[in-house]
Each structure stands twice: as C-alpha cells, then as structure tokens.
Symmetry: C3
Amino acid sequence: MAFPLRDIAERFGLTLQGDGDGLIAGVCSLQPGMPGRLSFLADPKQAGFLEQTYAGAVVLAPTMAERCPVPALIADNPQLAYARVAALFLPPHPPPGVHPSAFVDPDASVDPGATVGPHVVVEAGASVAAGTLLAAGCVLETDSHVGPDCRIGANAVLGREVVIGARVRVGPGAIIGGRGFGLARDHDGWVEIPQLGGVRLEDDVEVGAGCTIDRGTIGDTLLERGVKLDDQVHIAHNCRIGALTVIAGCTGIAGSTEVGARCMIGGGVGIGDHLRIVDDVVLTGATQVPSDITEPGVYSSTLKAMPAGDWRRRLALIRKLDRLEQRLRALEKPDNDKGDRA
Amino acid sequence: MAFPLRDIAERFGLTLQGDGDGLIAGVCSLQPGMPGRLSFLADPKQAGFLEQTYAGAVVLAPTMAERCPVPALIADNPQLAYARVAALFLPPHPPPGVHPSAFVDPDASVDPGATVGPHVVVEAGASVAAGTLLAAGCVLETDSHVGPDCRIGANAVLGREVVIGARVRVGPGAIIGGRGFGLARDHDGWVEIPQLGGVRLEDDVEVGAGCTIDRGTIGDTLLERGVKLDDQVHIAHNCRIGALTVIAGCTGIAGSTEVGARCMIGGGVGIGDHLRIVDDVVLTGATQVPSDITEPGVYSSTLKAMPAGDWRRRLALIRKLDRLEQRLRALEKPDNDKGDRA
Amino acid sequence: MAFPLRDIAERFGLTLQGDGDGLIAGVCSLQPGMPGRLSFLADPKQAGFLEQTYAGAVVLAPTMAERCPVPALIADNPQLAYARVAALFLPPHPPPGVHPSAFVDPDASVDPGATVGPHVVVEAGASVAAGTLLAAGCVLETDSHVGPDCRIGANAVLGREVVIGARVRVGPGAIIGGRGFGLARDHDGWVEIPQLGGVRLEDDVEVGAGCTIDRGTIGDTLLERGVKLDDQVHIAHNCRIGALTVIAGCTGIAGSTEVGARCMIGGGVGIGDHLRIVDDVVLTGATQVPSDITEPGVYSSTLKAMPAGDWRRRLALIRKLDRLEQRLRALEKPDNDKGDRA
C-alpha cells in the first residue's frame, strides 16, 4: 500500500509543494520522521522539529510551508487533512460474509454486504445493514438494529432493542443496553424496576472500549449524532447526550441527566443524576458536577497532587475551614471584642 | 401482551379506581402519557403532570387518587407496585435448553430447566440450576456454580470457584473471579501472590454491566444477600459487602474492606483498602473514603464544579491554606506583635 | 495435592523449624488457621495471632520463629516466600491443544505447546507461543502476537498488532488495542484520526480484568517489563509506563503521558494527558495529576469523607476562599484602613 504524494494531494484536494513523485507508504511522527512516510504539523510548538524531520512529506498550514525541508501537503486544517489521508493506511475491511462459526438466528436479517466475524451471535429479530463489520465474539441480542457502515468491536454486546444509526463505531467489550439501575425498596429488600426502554445511538457516534450505556426505564437512552465516547465511559439509563459532545475516558453520568450539544467533557468526570448541562460546556478532568450547569463555559473542580505531607496539612485545614472562618470573623469585630473584654 | 386493568389490580392486590375494562399493553411516562399504557406517580413533584396525563392508568398513593383523571391503581408504595406490575411487560425468558453452538463440558452439570445461549462456555465441574439463563457468549469456568433463576449476561465471565445463589443477576460483560491484585516484592520485580479463594454472591444480588469482582486471596470475596451493584463497579479481593447495600456506577472498593449492611454508596466513590464501614452509611457521589467510618450517617467529600478561572483561584488558595492559617494566627496575636515591634 | 513440609522447605530453600513430616494441602489465614494448611506472617501487627493459630505451618521471619507454636518455614521475606510456595496450590494449567470449538485461522500460528480454550478466536497472522493459555472466548485479532507462558483471560480481546512478551497475564474481559481517542474537528462534526500504532506489553506485565489499553496513533503504547495493572485501569493511546510500576484499580491515564519506573499509583487516580511523571513516584488513592511530577516522592490530593452537613459547610467556604483571603488581607492592613476611614 503506497501512493505517490501527487495522487494523495489530488485525491484530498490539498496543495502540493515540492516533488510529488515520492511514494508514501504509511505515517510517521515529525521527530525524527521516516523517509517514505507522511507526518503532519498542527501544533505550533512542534514547528522546531520540522526543519530536521526525516519524514517523506508533511501536512501543514500555509504559514509553515516555507520552513518545510521536504515535500509538503498544504491544508488550512492540517490535523483534519492528515486524519483523512492517514485513513488510507488503515487495514482493509474484511470482505462481506458470515463466518461459519458465527450464529445468526434464522429470524435475524444480515445484509449480504455486512461482515460477520467468528463466533458472533445475532439473535432473532436483529438486523445488520450493508457495510457493517461485526468483529469476533460480539453479540447482538433480540431486536437490536445496526445501521450501515458501522463497526462493532470484538466481544461487544448490544442488548435487546438497541438501535444504532449509520457509521457508528462501538469499541471492543462495550456493553450497550444493560439494565438501568432502577430499584424500588420493599420491606425486606430491593425490587428491580423493569427497564423497558432501549438505547439509541444516532449516526456517527463512537463508543470506546469497555463503555457501558444502560437502557432506559420507559423511553430510550439517547446519544445524538456525532457523540464520541472514549473508553470506560458509563452512561446511565434515560440520559440524553447532545450532538457532537465528546467525553473522555472513565467518566460517569448518572441516570436521567441531559448533557447539551458540543460539550467537551474530560476524563474521570462524575455527573450526578437528573441534571441538565447546557450546550457548549467544557469540564476539566475529574470535575464533579452535583448540580445543573445553566451557562456555557469552562467549569472545573480538578484538584492537583502535591507532596503528601503538604497535602495532609492542607486537608486538615480544609476540614476545619469553618473554624478558620470563625476566627476570621472574631478578628473582624475588634471593637465588639474590646467591648466584651472591657 | 395486554391485560385488563381489573386483572392487574386483582393479581397484584391493588385497589382499582375507575373503569377496569381497559386493556394495558405496556408502560409510559406520566407526561405526556399514552393511552392503553400504565404510568405511576411516586414523586410528589410530578403531581402537576397527573391532571394532563394521557396514560391509560396510573399507579399512585391514596392521597393522590382524587386528582387522577384516568383509571388508577392505588398503592401505599406506588413505585414498588409499579415495579411489580411493569414486570408483566418484560420480554419472556427464552425456553430452557442448550443452544447447539454452546460448549458444555461433559463434566459440567446443567439443569434441564436452564437456558444456555449461543456460544456459551460451561467448563468442567461447573453447575447451573433450573430457571437460570446464560446469555450468549458468557463463560462459566471450572467449578463455578450458579443457583436457580439467575440471569448471567452476555459475554460475562464467572471464574473458577465462583459460587452464586438464587435469583442473582450478573450484567453483560461483568467479570467475577478475576485474580486479586496481590503482589510480593522480589529483588528484581514483582511476584504474584496466588489468589486461591473464590467469590460468593448470595441470593438476590445484582451485578451491573462491566463490573469486576476479584477472588479472595485465601477465603472468599463475599457479597451478601440483596447487594445491588450498578455498572463498572470494582470490588477488590477479600471484600465483604453487607446485605442490601446498593452501590452506584464507577465506584471502586479496595482490597479486604468490609462494608456494612443497608449502605447507599454513590457513583464514582473510592473506598480504600482494609477499612471498615459500618451498617447504614450513605456516601454521596465521588466521595473518597481513606479511613474507617464507625458511625451510621451520611458522609461526603463531593466537590462542585465552578467556572474554571474561579476554581483555579480557589485551588491556589487551597494549596497555600497553611500560609493563610499562619497569617490568621499572626493577626490573632496583636499584642505580642506590637511587643515585638516595640 | 499435598506436600510434606520438609519437601516444601527444600524445594524453596527455606529453613525448616519443627516437624517436617506433616502434609500441607493448601493455604489458610493465620487466624484461626487450619490444620494441614500453610499460613504466613508478614505484618508485625498480626504477630498476636501467631500464638493461637491452628495453621499446619507458618512462613515467617527469623525474628518471629521463637514465638511460633507450630512448624515453621523461616524466610527473610515471608510474604515473597509464601507467594512462591502457595503457587503449588494453584489449579493445574489445562493441557496443551486447541479446543474443537475454537476458531484458529489457517494463517495464524499456534505453538503445539499452547492451550486454546473453547470459543477462542485467533485471526490471520496472529501467533501464540508455547506454554500460553488462551482462556475461553478470548479474541486475538489479526497480527497480534503472544509470547510464551502467558495467560490471556476469558473474553479478553487483543486487537490487531498487539505484541505481548513472556509470562504476561491479561485478565478476563481486558481490551488491549482499542482505537485511541484521537479526533479532528471538521466544520460539521468530528473525524477520526486513524490510530495506526499498536500496543506492546513487555515481559512479566499483568493487566487486570476489564482494563483498556489503547493502541498508539503512530507508534506503540508501551508497558515496560513487570508493570502490574489492577482491574478497570485505563491506559490511553501513546502512553509509556515504566518498568515495575504498579497501578491500582479504576485509575485512568490520559493520552501520550509517560509514567516512570517503579511508581506506585493508587486506585481511582486520574493523570492528565501529555504529562511526564518521573521514576519512583507514589500517588495515594484518588489523587488527581493535571501537571508533570518532576521529583520522586509521595504525592496526594486525596480528600476524606466527613458527615455531609459538615462537609457542605466546608465546601461552601472552599468556594468563597478568595473572599476569605480578601477579608484576611483587609485585616492585615489596619493602618491603611484607619487612614482611609480618617
């Protein structure tokens, strides 16, 4: 798999600078770079590496073109252009067809243009559209539906009545459609509240490895168009995540919470239940959100590690902060105090 | 699947108000509601929705009956009554039998009343009781035992010598009986401390999707009767979780810790190792517990997101809280100070 | 499986004290202990249990030997010696061979000395060395390579081009080689940045149940020799974890971060992206690391639960800590203030 740089420029509508005959056979980092491979420069802090790179070619912004010692592809958004070009080097999709070790229920519907890997299970009533790949060992339970050009990772599980749009990627080991955690108290224990809704993932959603997305109690848990989840994210029952929102790894969102569109949520964040987060909210890593966020903006409650002895003293003071405030208040009333003393 | 409201009332011992002839074919939310479907009113804050609901019938408390414009089922605990009625609408259990694609070791014992799904693995010495469903792709390793009327989710794993009681639900992708994280330091690395214990889940336990519960080092890790875990909870080796305790998603409990009965543990909580938490403790979401809790009650260390610039200033002050305290102390000794200056 | 204590002493080079004829058939805790079983005493706080133990024998330090009422194996590092001896009682490895229900691609290479369990998938180009066990349902995708004497847990997934050294243990349900979370912004959504690197686990690495380790963007994500991960740890793309570093459960490390050698990282820790943590750093549980750590030592930002009402008041004060500091500053300038007032 190697492409002349000129062909790449044409195919992706990029401006070629320098020799277009060289073959590009893969990608490389800018430093040190690798002959015959393509790199990119998006972060101005890396501009210093450009002049010594051994890359076969570099995707970069017009302002950087002059400094590039090797052939270049010029793009207004070099990272985006690189993302598109680099996809040339992804391993090819396996050919369509159902692996003989897979089990597809006779009452399921798998398009002949779909690829069903070894030991996959497709239960009754499920459907799989053309261009979709079901990787080894994944399970589509009863009445789940997967749209076209999706990729369901190895050993992932789509529960009953999970409905997935087009071009959705579900990571290996992700579990979509587990029971929502609804319980009613009985005199001698807990009774499960039946979770009768489903999960809907709209077009272009990505769900990372090991994520869990629970089915709704009555209606559906919903991830709107273009939502992207990193690994080990948990979305509880009845949540609705707005279009294009991105959520980094290990974040958990509790039940019935609605997150707006175009939010950027860091890793390890915790968001409470029954909350509303408006559009265009950014949360830094490990931030805790126990109440609504009603205005767009960047929010945080991220702590910062310090030497443990120092932290222990700060923590002791945090724990008696009310006493500190009382001492401050006492000082603020010197006249009264003097009066008292007099 | 539709039931006259009158039959539902009789079957669950609820008081019928209004017309009992209407058929109920499923559930709906109170707002807007849906004809022919059942809703419930448990949260008084939702009482306003009652008067405009389109639901076919509503389960509610006696005090609300008068305000209900549609037929009602009256119950002292409407949420509990709803939970029981709604279970009518869960999809039926698949019929008993072993799917031809499953592998059941000749030295395993599967009750003829159990259902073994596609690509399930039941290894030698394992046993499965009547009424239990093993969903597609789950694995029961050597000498694991599953009691009656359980449901083991798709692609879940029960390791060697995991023992599960009656009516236990294990979510898809949950891993019970992984190696406990015990290591001994050698001069040139780490040596695994063999984890020779098992895991025991007593009756009516629920384990959510993607949870991990590690086997004990010598004895068993134990979840007592009626413990309920949400998704992605981690219970380390040698822990013991008391009866009826409920743990929300993404919480982790470190090794050899004992949690009491009837605790309510929020999501994203972290509990350290070798601790004791007494009965009837409530922990709010994301709370950190590095030491014993010896009295029942509600505990917290939950932070709260604020605009990032504001938070950055607070964090800087937290980090010099000892300096603040010194300044406060200096102010509290004005006479000394004046003496010093004199 | 039972061994005379004398044989155990000889085999592991330990000093025998007392009768060596007794058979040891397993392990037990020190309190109460169990006849015919072996315990150990490593923590001096447990010395009180020694004198009443019912254990058949105890592994302990020379200084404790005198107080031992039962036969003893004397070792400078009793925990390490116990770890080695206890491995005698682990269930035997299943015999080599490929289970008939497994699917091994004709273009894969499985050593005849490897054990391939039921419903395992080994795709084209993958290789498995001698002495390695692939537990039920695990998946080795195209061109993944597993070295000798490894154990890959049930339903674990090794993605394309994951390369694993010798004596590596991958827990059940762990996902190695998921797509790294790289995205480029397009005018109308997100475009995946292809993740073309792999994951390398060097010799003696352990990965716990349910962990996720993402493939690199261009180069490989790397866990060096002897790194040990507990359950549900997340290692993002392009990370490099130094030799012998140990990471407890539920910790997440964001993309392109480098952690040094011999670090001890607690559970529930969050480490940001593109950071450098030097060798020999210890992080207490739930610590948050949003910036580089450049000196070895113990670091913390762990909070501590307190009664919820008390905490609420502390949190309110944290949130107005800048106001507190202003009030303090105002008090520190009494002369100016008096001047202003005059």
